[in-house]
């Protein structure tokens, strides 16, 4: 677990200090599905978007654990869960992919804008026909001279309606072949690329989402991230960061919710005693506490292992599954503890429940995480022996 130094605490406190202002009017924005442009600019001013990227690009040059430590404070202090999610998506989708796998000239051209928040990033992975079965994606990229021509449709592109820069994953080889995907960095105004209208959704309504259409989009070979055929490796790295960064924000949200419930259970009186003195309520809060601590351990322990180049394929799936499911339980418990007030929009807890459900779906559903874990345990392989 991270033992924060002065600089790390300072970064965290800077976010914590502006969190309440970032979340102002969050319920009204959720109702209309409005992205907070003002909140984005304030976040940019803190340097948050450049946290894990090199100082030569305008970033703060911090490591993964520090980035998570600061993002946890964002989740704890800012009640606009959609803004938090958009910030995390921006950092990991284009920034992390470029920072780790991009060639020097690509980094020099694009990372400064990502760090300053003036260039908004997104990635396009899921397609209308499927999201989990990524190795069978239908979007294709065909080599043509010094470029690739991309065709296909992408679904559920978070930040899509805002994005200036999109990492598009497309098939350059056979379906299911691990060498069959390539990652392309595509600018928003590239001819042939269009976005659909923002899609209405259950939660994270202040983080816009849309479809992306690629019709003969010509992308220079120099815009390939990593090497041709290495798209799955880029995606795997990005997904690890996405899970750790977006769910550590959820951890912060769970911590805030827990504190709110403890305070309420101590002061709300029924039948002449605080409701927290009743075992049924106290137990619910204890379970919320256990969920917070379990999620924290899985997220930070996995990040430590990843930072020391250990194989975290199983850990990351468990961390994602544990935290996302805990967040839903925590949000439902908070509504129950607050009773009728929790059910109203005014208290913001029903919104947090709707936001939390998204976490069990994006970055690989709960079912897919279990499938991955079982595969890594060799269970699937035993059922279908291979032959050379």
């Amino acid at each position: 677990m991270l033992q924060a130094n002065d600089q790390q605490r300072e970064l965290r406190e800077a976010i914590r200090a502006i969190g309440p202002a970032l979340g102002a009017e969050h319920i009204a924005r959720d109702r209309t599905g409005t992205f907070s442009e003002g909140g984005w600019k304030r976040l940019a001013e803190t340097g948050l978007f450049g946290l894990p990227f090199g100082e030569e690009f305008g970033g703060l040059g911090q490591d993964l654990l520090t980035t998570m430590y600061v993002l946890e404070a964002l989740g704890e202090s800012c009640r606009d869960g959609g803004l938090n999610f958009s910030a995390s998506t921006h950092i990991v989708s284009a920034g992390v992919a470029l920072h780790r796998y991009g060639r020097a000239e690509l980094k020099a051209r694009y990372l400064p804008g990502i760090c300053s928040g003036t260039t908004i990033g997104a990635h396009a992975i899921t397609e209308p026909e499927g999201g989990s079965d990524i190795m069978r994606m239908r979007t294709t990229a065909v080599a043509d001279g010094d470029a690739f021509v991309l065709n296909g449709t992408k679904a559920f592109v978070s930040n899509g309606p805002l994005a200036d820069l999109i990492v598009v994953y497309a098939r350059t080889g056979k379906p299911e072949n691990p060498a069959g995907l390539t990652a392309f960095l595509v600018e928003r105004d590239t001819p042939g690329l269009t976005t659909g209208r923002p899609i209405e959704k259950m939660g994270l309504r202040t983080s816009p989402l849309c479809e992306l259409f690629l019709d003969g989009v010509r992308v220079p070979r120099s815009q390939v991230i990593g090497s041709v055929g290495a798209g799955f490796l880029v995606l795997d790295h990005v997904m690890k960061w996405e899970i750790l960064c977006s769910f550590v924000i959820n951890l912060g949200e769970m911590r805030h919710r827990l504190e709110r419930c403890v305070e309420y259970a101590r002061t709300r009186t029924q039948f002449g005693a605080p409701i927290g003195s009743y075992q049924s309520t106290a137990n619910r809060i204890v379970e919320m506490k256990i969920d917070v601590e379990t999620s924290r351990k899985w997220l930070y322990d996995t990040a430590e292992k990843l930072s020391s180049n250990q194989n975290v394929a199983t850990d990351i799936a468990i961390a994602k599954l544990v935290t996302s499911e805990a967040n839903v339980r925590s949000a439902l418990s908070a509504i129950q503890i607050f009773g009728g007030y929790g059910y109203t929009a005014e208290y913001g807890l029903e919104k947090e429940m709707r936001n939390a459900v998204a976490g069990t779906i994006y970055s690989g559903t709960t079912e897919i995480q279990k499938q991955r874990i079982s595969t890594l345990m060799g269970l699937n392989r035993a059922a279908t022996p291979k032959r050379a």
């Binding site: 691990p178 060498a179 990593g226 799955f232 291979k386």
Partner: protein, 86 residues
């Protein structure tokens, strides 16, 4: 084990044990395409890269790394030799 033959055989032993259990050693040709033929899946590839990195102390260059380096026993052996100078 740093000779060319030693590296190739260590990789072949690992592939047989992890991804082709029960397959006789002589049936796995070192040029056999493990990716095209579905022996090594996307999840397997991550574990395989990690194994090669640790087993042979290979410095992985994220910009240059390609699944093609792990396409066959020969490809992996060549990759290890080139990157470690063995």
């Amino acid at each position: 084990m740093t000779t060319t033959e030693g590296i190739t055989e260590a990789i072949r032993t690992h592939i047989l044990a992890e991804y082709l259990p029960g397959t006789p050693r002589e049936e796995l040709e070192t040029s056999y395409d493990l990716l095209d033929n579905g022996v090594v899946t996307s999840l397997d590839l991550l574990a395989l890269i990690s194994w090669v990195e640790q087993r042979f102390q290979v410095p992985i260059d994220e910009v240059e790394i390609s699944p093609d380096h792990f396409r066959s026993v020969d490809a992996m052996s060549e990759f290890v030799k080139r990157t470690t100078g063995k």
